[in-house]
């Protein structure tokens, strides 16, 4: 029953309308008088014309053509697709939050400021940092903010020769892209045979041109960098700073903290670790925490407390300035704050504990059938290689499509780059053992299917609303918008 869904534009009928507005009740002036003709649009706006129910049915049908965490298991590695509690959604739409203007006077926004302040206290404790900005709107935005702060710190000290940022080969793509955006050069650090950062290579790479080391710990391979203390020491001795990419923070809450490991700057992905939804790509939130010596460089404003009164603090003479028009994704921060208040310290630690137990359990099940290049205790995720299956005719991408046919969202595929035909699996803390068992069983079935008829697997999926989509064609002759025939 495969078919395309009509576009809004194809459903449009001239004369239909989906809105209801009261008539203009002020004495109107002739349009020309308040807006000269020359400034007016020459061609009338072309938008679809639809009634409300048509719109609802359109988007309802589209929603059925979409897979979310609420639909089923979503072990997308490094994305921490855990359950998004509904109370968080309720909190964020309270009119006392959702309909506030960012330029309101402080005395009219005390509840919002208190929430921002409370959230900062929670994040400081979670990460062992001294202050946080909640302004970055996403993880990559947090990375950029963090590097700007590091840059401002070095520049303030008159240290202008630090032009390089070190990044392990296993890093997310956002790390090197962020480094370029901040005007730095990337130095790649290889991994050793254990899948950890090669400490000797790191030591050899650090010098007085090193601005920072950006590190995700646990790494994208799901391993804790055991030599973190020596790594931090090497970077600090050379005058560089340590940046913690919090993408994988869900593995270590309550067990260890970036600040205790020696990191100077941290970003968290609250849409991963703190259970706010990903929204089909966003909005997220990427708060950045820093150690004391970097506080003067944080974006303005900070939120300060004096007695029962909360206020914005713009008085940071060395601040990098702003990275967002206002205070970041406040609505997302509300959800993360609600989550932290629901979980408490014990709950958060249990979440990390279960995330790690689930990952190790699932890894243990799957390594019986699939090739596990680095066979050791993992943290919240692990990476299989479908190289053997690829040789039989169906690789990681094909296994992903076969999972779609069986009602699962696939793992992250072809990343990290250091594992050939990578399948990066992160089950998260909110999945039941039965789900993991079912997933493992399905993966075994797919392995058998590949043994029997790899060609068939290589042409899936078969049960989805559309078949395998031609991505090459999309890129070669791009159609990026609908146009009237």
């Amino acid at each position: 029953m495969r078919k395309s869904k009509a576009l809004l534009f194809e459903m449009s009928r001239s004369g239909r309308q989906g809105y209801s507005l009261p008539p203009c009740d002020v004495p109107g002036k002739p349009l020309e008088q308040i807006l000269p003709k020359v400034l007016q649009r020459s061609e009338p706006l072309d938008l679809p014309e639809l009634t409300e129910m048509e719109i609802i049915r359109h988007y309802t049908e589209l929603s059925t053509r979409n897979f979310g965490v609420d639909t089923g298991f979503y072990p997308l590695g490094s994305c921490t697709m855990k359950y998004n509690p509904k109370v968080n959604e309720e909190a964020a739409v309270l009119p006392g939050f959702a309909f506030m203007h960012p330029c309101q006077a402080e005395e009219t926004a005390q509840g919002a400021l208190e929430l921002l302040y409370n959230m900062e206290q929670c994040l400081k404790e979670l990460t062992a940092m001294d202050r946080f900005t909640l302004q970055p709107a996403a993880g990559a935005h947090g990375e950029l903010t963090g590097l700007m702060i590091i840059q401002a710190y070095h520049r303030h000290r008159g240290d202008h020769k630090r032009t390089k940022v070190l990044i392990p080969l296993s890093a997310h793509g956002t790390n090197p892209a962020t480094v370029s955006m901040a005007g730095y050069d990337v130095v790649q650090i290889p991994c050793d045979e254990r899948g950890l950062v090669d400490l000797e290579a790191l030591k050899a790479a650090v010098d007085d041109t090193t601005s920072a080391l950006m590190l995700t710990n646990p790494s994208t391979l799901g391993f804790f960098e055991e030599e973190i203390i020596a790594m931090a020491q090497a970077v600090h001795e050379a005058g560089g700073l340590l940046y913690y990419d919090g993408a994988n923070m869900n593995a270590i809450m309550g067990y260890t903290r970036p600040g205790d490991m020696g990191f100077d700057v941290v970003h968290l992905n609250i849409h991963k670790t703190l259970a706010t939804p990903h929204g089909g790509g966003g909005p997220g939130g990427g708060p950045v925490g820093v150690k004391e010596r970097l506080v003067p460089f944080l974006p303005v404003p900070l939120v300060d407390q004096k007695g029962d009164n909360y206020s914005f603090n713009y008085d940071l003479p060395h601040s990098i300035g702003k990275v967002h028009s206002f205070y970041g994704n406040f609505g997302v921060v509300i959800k993360a704050y609600t989550y932290m208040r629901m979980m408490g310290a014990e709950g958060l630690k249990q979440a990390s504990s279960d995330a790690v137990l689930n990952a190790n359990y699932l890894m243990n099940l799957l390594k019986k059938t699939f090739y596990l290049p680095y066979d050791r205790i993992c943290k919240h995720e692990f990476v299989l290689s479908a190289r053997p299956e690829k040789k039989k005719g169906a690789g990681a991408g094909d296994i992903a499509k076969a999972l779609l046919d069986r009602g699962f969202h696939p793992p992250t595929v072809y990343f990290p780059l250091i594992v050939e035909e990578a399948l990066m699996i992160e089950p998260t803390d909110t999945e039941a053992k039965e789900t993991l068992d079912a997933f493992a069983q399905t993966m075994e079935e797919i392995a058998r299917d590949i043994d029997e008829d790899a060609e068939k697997v290589a042409h899936g999926p078969y049960n989805t609303v559309v078949g395998r989509l031609d991505e090459v064609r999309a890129a070669r002759s791009p159609i990026l918008r609908w146009k009237k025939e």
């Binding site: 349009l31 007016q40 009338p44 506030m100 956002t174 967002h324 028009s325 969202h409 395998r468 918008r481």
Partner: protein
């Protein structure tokens, strides 16, 4: 323990799973964390709350705030109290959308991909551009990335930005440019608009882009005629920050020669939410698509020839190009863009026009009434869309206090952004304001001082 209702593993499960792994305890799974950095105590966080308790707590915080539902708002400066049709929340609240990730697996993400494709189309229809992306974080970051795009497209490193562009956006722009070592120069104002003569003199062969805002920060509709020609004569690109709510009425940026259009899309049915999440708009002419940051959805076909949608032109993006990517953006504001699409579909061409015209008429009505008051005058005479700057006879904060006593969220005090202006406020009047509300505002202002 808090959060038990989110954690399905039972103690029995945990024991069985540990046995299967061959571990004695969960602690064994954390042995790779060196003792020196292991947390010895429990985190010192506030005690866990039950759902009813957490709602009580958040309700009590929310109740301390003033907002558009318990006050009448005349605040603007980039974020507005436009009407939000009920339909939007029902669509963005469908959890198949909001609990999904970036659509890397297109066969199970056709819903969000098609919605993004439709969003891109409607942004193109509004702006007159050829291509739009799936969203940026907000207006400020969209302006910054638009300017950087201009540098990428021209391989030059200097950008001119008008002082009539929102100071909130220029703050972000300055920061992005300073970090990257790009050069930013500000074009001075004349009567609240970009000084065209000064711009002409500042243009040169080293200029990558010129960034203007329409309507500008003071709500004024600038004269754009001839600007694109001047910019293009120097092989630079014209970046326009536009308010999408103005576009049904005002010239589309394509009509006056814009190359890249950015802007804040909050007016398109997005709750103000104390300034975030917002919606960064990014659109451009075809020839700049390779420099465009962020996700783009494109049409293709499946194995049976059915139409379908995928993320495309990904070689611009960080996960493929790494340090050579056009930008580092990964997560965006997709769900907000979905809401904006629903808004545009609901309003349609006529509703959009009506909203724009009501904004224009009501702002003109309020402007005339306020500036007729003794001691109040229009800071910059000219053409306004939905907001205008007023110089008031005293401290704007005091006036706002007086207004607040009457449950009015007054104008935004812009004096700190423009030291040359004294006691100047920006009043925004959307289609939602009634004649009665405007008259009430004017009456309180009249009685002040």
């Amino acid at each position: 323990m808090g959060g038990k209702h989110y954690l399905p593993l039972t103690d029995e499960d945990r024991r069985d799973m540990l046995t299967a792994i061959g571990a004695n305890s969960v602690e064994d799974l954390f042995n790779d964390i060196p003792t020196a950095v292991r947390l010895q105590n429990q985190l010192d966080l506030p005690p866990a709350l039950a759902e009813s308790e957490v709602l009580d707590h958040l309700n009590s915080l929310a109740s301390k705030n003033k907002h558009f539902h318990n006050c009448v708002s005349f605040m603007g400066a980039g974020v507005y109290d436009h009407f939000i049709p009920s339909v939007i929340r029902h669509i963005t609240g469908r959890s198949e959308f909001y609990t999904s990730y970036t659509p890397y697996q297109p066969e199970v993400s056709q819903g969000i991909l098609q919605a993004i494709f439709e969003y891109q189309t409607m942004i193109c229809q509004l702006t007159g551009m050829d291509v739009a992306n799936a969203s940026m974080y907000d207006g400020g970051t969209a302006v910054a990335e638009g300017a950087i795009m201009g540098c990428g497209a021209t391989r030059r490193s200097k950008v001119l930005v008008s002082r009539s562009v929102s100071p909130f956006y220029r703050g972000v722009l300055r920061n992005y440019f300073h970090s990257r070592g790009l050069i930013l120069e500000e074009i001075p104002l004349i009567d609240g608009c970009t000084n065209r003569e000064a711009l002409g003199k500042m243009l040169g062969e080293d200029v990558a882009a010129v960034v203007l805002q329409q309507p500008n920060f003071f709500g004024m509709v600038e004269n754009m005629s001839g600007i694109a020609e001047a910019v293009h004569n120097h092989k630079a690109v014209l970046v326009i920050s536009a308010d999408p709510l103005s576009l049904p009425l005002l010239q589309a940026p394509a009509e006056y020669g814009a190359d890249i259009v950015v802007g804040e899309g909050q007016g398109l049915g997005v709750p103000a939410s104390f300034g975030g999440p917002l919606l960064g708009i990014m659109a451009a002419r075809d020839k700049f698509v390779r420099q465009m940051p962020g996700r783009i959805a494109g049409e293709t076909v499946d194995s049976e020839g059915n139409r379908g949608f995928v993320l495309t032109l990904q070689t611009r993006e960080q996960h493929i190009r790494r340090e050579k990517a056009a930008s580092n953006i990964c997560s965006n504001e997709a769900l907000v863009a979905l809401g904006a699409s629903v808004y545009l579909a609901v309003m349609g061409p006529k509703g959009m026009y009506e909203v724009a015209e009501q904004c224009l008429q009501k702002a003109a009505y309020a402007r005339d009434k306020i500036t007729a008051l003794e001691g109040f005058f229009l800071t910059f005479p000219g053409i306004n869309f939905k907001e205008f700057a007023v110089t008031v006879p005293g401290d704007p904060a005091e006036l706002n206090k007086k207004l607040l006593e009457n449950n009015i969220l007054g104008g935004v005090d812009i004096t700190s952004f423009y030291p040359e202006l004294k006691n100047t406020m920006l009043f925004a009047v959307t289609e939602k304001r009634t004649r009665q509300e405007i008259d009430d505002l004017v009456r309180v202002m009249e009685g002040w001082k």
